[in-house]
Amino acid sequence: MNIYLAQATPDCECRLIHAALDTMPEEKSVRMKRCRVAQQRTCMALSEVLLAWALLEDRNLKVRKSDRFFGKYGKPMLCVSGEIIEFNISHSGPFVLVGIDENPLGVDIQQWGRDVDLIARKIMSPDEYEAWTTSPDKVVAFYDFWARTESILKWKGVGIAGLRDASLPESIGTHPVAVPHGYSAAVCGCLPKRCSGVLRAQKIEVEMLLTQAERRRVAL
C-alpha cells in the first residue's frame, strides 16, 4: 500500500486543471468545471494529476480517461491494460491524499473544524460518544474518529448511509496517517500484520507533478 500527499496552492489552479484534463473522466471534469469553490476545483485537479503520477511511478501504468469505471455502489475504479487498480482519493483544505494498493482501500483526510459536539452525537454510538467525552482533546479525537470512519465507508464504498456500521472483516484494518497539524487522516484496507503506529504518506511536490505531466503530454 502506498499513500501520497500533495498540497495545492492557489497559483497552480490553471496548470493543474490543464494537466488533469488529460486523464480525468468526462463526468468528473464536468463536476470540476461546475464547482464554484476554487480550492475544491484545484484539489479535484491535483488528485487526478497525483493519481496519474503515482500509477506511472508505482506500476509503470499510463492511465487514460477511458480506464475509469464505477463499482457496485458508485465507488470510482480503474482498469488499466486489463488490470484492476485499487485506489482511493480524499482531499480537505489544500491537501490531497491518494492511496494505491493491490486490495481495496479507503483513505480520508479531514481538516479540523469548529464545534463538534452536535455532530459527534449524530454519528457516534452511545458508547463511542461516552468514550469521546473523556478525550483530552475532543476536537482532535473527533476528527481522528471521523477520518477513520470515513476511510471505512470508502473502503466499503457505501457512503454516508453506512455510517452506523463500522464493522470490518478480520483481515481489514484502519490506521492513522501522518498529515500536517490541523488535519486528521486514516486509511482502511488490508494492512500488513506488522503495521503499527502511524502510516507515513509520501509527500509529493506539485511543481514536480506538473513538470512530469507536461513531459507526458509532449511524449504523446
Binding site: C35, V37, Q40, L118, I119, K122, I160
Partner: protein
C-alpha cells in the same frame, strides 16, 4: 421552505459569492464534503426539530432534494 434551507446553507458556508438555487449541487457546486453535509443535516434537524436518518442523507444531492425531503417530512 426554500428560503429557510437557503438561509441555513448560506449561514453554514458563509460565502456571499456563491448563489444558492434549487438546482445547486450541494457537494459539487458548494464544495461541501461528506462531514460538512452531516453537519448541515444536524442544522436542519435543529431548525425543523426532526431526526434525519443517515440513509436519507444519500438522497441530498441538490438543494431541491433537501427542500422536497423537508417539505414531505413536515406534511
Amino acid at each position: 421552505m426554500f428560503d429557510r434551507v437557503k438561509a441555513i446553507i448560506g449561514g453554514y458556508i458563509q460565502r456571499d459569492d456563491l448563489e444558492i438555487t434549487l438546482d445547486t449541487d450541494v457537494l459539487g457546486d458548494l464544495g461541501i464534503n461528506s462531514l460538512e453535509l452531516v453537519e448541515l443535516v444536524c442544522a436542519f434537524e435543529m431548525e425543523f426539530d426532526m431526526d434525519i436518518p443517515e440513509k436519507d442523507i444519500r438522497g441530498f444531492l441538490t438543494v431541491n432534494d433537501i427542500v422536497c425531503y423537508l417539505e414531505a417530512a413536515a406534511a
